[in-house]
């Protein structure tokens, strides 16, 4: 059996200890025993989000939490500024459109980060805008956005700042409270080292004020239903028990390392990957690369799908491009359970493969 090096930006490999915790006999969710897990998760998630706000946990993919951030804060006919520089910016715009929210798009070249002054301009031109939607890392382009500067701008207005931090959280530097982020969104299958199926929304006081006024319809993702029970470490619906138990274990591993050490390790691994690729003669695609995932430009001579297939046969699983980047980039994740040793081995296999296929870069 070839060892598998799963290096996609979600799912990421599940460390053995976490897989074991999830494989234990299942317990009921309305028991003190389970609520202890929930309590620990709720407390430790705050440390990752760097917030004093509650972090609500949903059973859904990240898209569910993105929808939750729209339906809980806005009303039909409201205006929202949406930064669109990749597939996930497009997704925020689609969700707004589905709910009758007017979108003021800030179109950004794929692979570039938005200039924060464009957010300032959009808010000045649209003083009625209730929210700005953007990302920490736009996963499709592996680009990190300057959330801190955007936060400074949005904080001076009545609008809230909603940040999809799904792929970046735990890998890219992020400070929810210090950076004036009002809703921060996370997902389980990234730096959290557990399978997909959980998503998160941390919600600021400013955002709660909008929640009170929001009239968009909601039920399953209704923030109020979750927040009402969070102090009791309870959940309005049957939660994804095994995933929450896995998350408790994952967070205890991260806490033992220390959140800042955990993030710094991602920074060093990301830098290592970027240097290695440059030495191979490959070009990093984004102008401001994320520390969660690296996107590499593929020279025209290279058949990307063939390269990804050759690597896969050797156990190395990289992701291709999405949307307009299909065939133009490949992406290597270095988050969560992906460690330096695995990165070295996988990049070594990439080097060999490029040589074997006689690809000069």
């Amino acid at each position: 059996m070839t060892k598998q090096y799963l290096m996609t930006p979600g799912p990421t490999p599940i460390p053995e200890k976490i897989a074991e915790a999830m494989a234990k006999p299942i317990i009921h969710h309305r028991t003190p025993q389970y609520m202890e897990f929930t309590k620990a998760v709720n407390g430790n998630l705050k440390k990752i989000f760097k917030t004093a706000n509650n972090v609500l946990t949903f059973t859904s993919s990240g898209t569910g939490a993105m929808e939750a951030s729209v339906v809980n804060t806005l009303s039909k006919g409201d205006t929202a500024v949406v930064v669109i520089g990749g597939k996930f910016g497009e997704r925020f715009a689609e969700i707004c459109n589905a709910y009758g929210v007017n979108v003021v798009p800030i179109d950004v070249e794929w692979g570039a980060a938005p200039d924060p002054s464009r957010v300032e301009k959009a808010l000045k031109e649209n003083p009625d805008a209730k929210a700005v939607f953007t990302h920490l890392c736009e996963t499709s382009t592996a680009t990190v956005y300057d959330v801190k500067s955007i936060g400074n701008i949005v904080a001076k207005t009545d609008a809230i700042l909603v940040v999809d931090a799904i792929s970046g959280l735990g890998s890219d530097e992020f400070e929810m409270d210090k950076w004036n982020v009002d809703i921060a969104i996370g997902g389980s299958q990234k730096a959290f080292m557990i399978p997909p199926g959980l998503s998160f929304c941390a919600v600021s006081k400013k955002a709660w004020e909008l929640v009170k006024k929001s009239t968009l319809p909601k039920y399953y993702f209704d923030f109020k239903k979750y927040d009402k029970l969070i102090e009791k470490s309870d959940n309005p619906w049957t939660p994804a028990i095994t995933l929450v138990i896995g998350l408790e274990k994952a967070l205890s591993i991260i806490m033992a390392e220390g959140v800042d050490n955990f993030i710094k390790r991602h920074m060093r691994d990301a830098e290592f990957v970027r240097q290695y690729l440059k030495e191979l003669g490959l070009e990093i695609f984004p102008k401001s690369p994320s520390d969660a995932v690296t996107a590499t430009k593929v020279p025209k001579e290279i058949d990307t799908s063939k390269l990804i297939k050759s690597l896969k046969a050797k156990g190395v699983i990289f992701a291709g491009g999405q949307g307009e980047l299909k065939g133009k980039i490949f992406r290597i994740a270095h988050m969560g359970g992906i460690n330096r040793e695995d990165l070295e081995r996988a990049l070594g296999i990439l080097k060999e493969t490029l040589k074997e296929e006689n690809i000069k870069v």
Copy 2:
């Protein structure tokens, strides 16, 4: 360590083979390898639902799929008939209310099944009603409803029949197509023997006609987005990979036994539990008991929470009553991974405990 007998109506125990399948190294969801799992799941779910319709799989608790059945078929101001005979009937009404759908309630005494003629009457009095919402098993009262007769009535009208079969599916007899059910809803943590986190909607042609006209807003639960990809065994969002892999294993175990044998075994186990309880002098609560879960009346002299606690200390976990039945009943599930041997042992412990606590019934 005391062996645990988890006999709650969700979650149910996870057989070892299924836990092992879920603990294997995770794979990426946009791969032929994963799509094989999805394909097998999609095919075998049809056999459990007894339908030729596609069964859509969501990452959510059952409540998410209940919401999906409303938002995909109805429009604001539409009228829906909702059978309310327990906590989950109330939930359908709450979802309709949240989305501006007018509810014509059929209030049923908790523990009784609705007389199908009341559905006929409600539809005659409300000829504009677009849908009837009801249950196969109302989990909170452990009552099975006569879906077949209700299906005959609704089929003669323009309304669709939506059945929450979350707890009943796989345990209570159910025939989606033969019984004229238009949307059948399932959940993973019941007879399917896997942890909570997946929910299902099987959708009939008649329901798809309503989907085309529905204007309620939706995105994450949008049927069309799932259906568009189902033929490719793909999913619009990152699915709960490990749960789907567990489900594939569970369904293969059920198929090896045969769907009808699987259901007949539940019928026999349910009958065994009911007889045992009657011999202990306890009274079965519902008038038409489900084969998924049994609810037992608790004589006034018995302190239910104390009894449930004493049993828990011995490893036997039964569920109490919900809503207005709190303290009045306890519920024993006999679905999925709960086998006869475990039921015998757990009921034996119940018998001992009643004797020890000097409870005469």
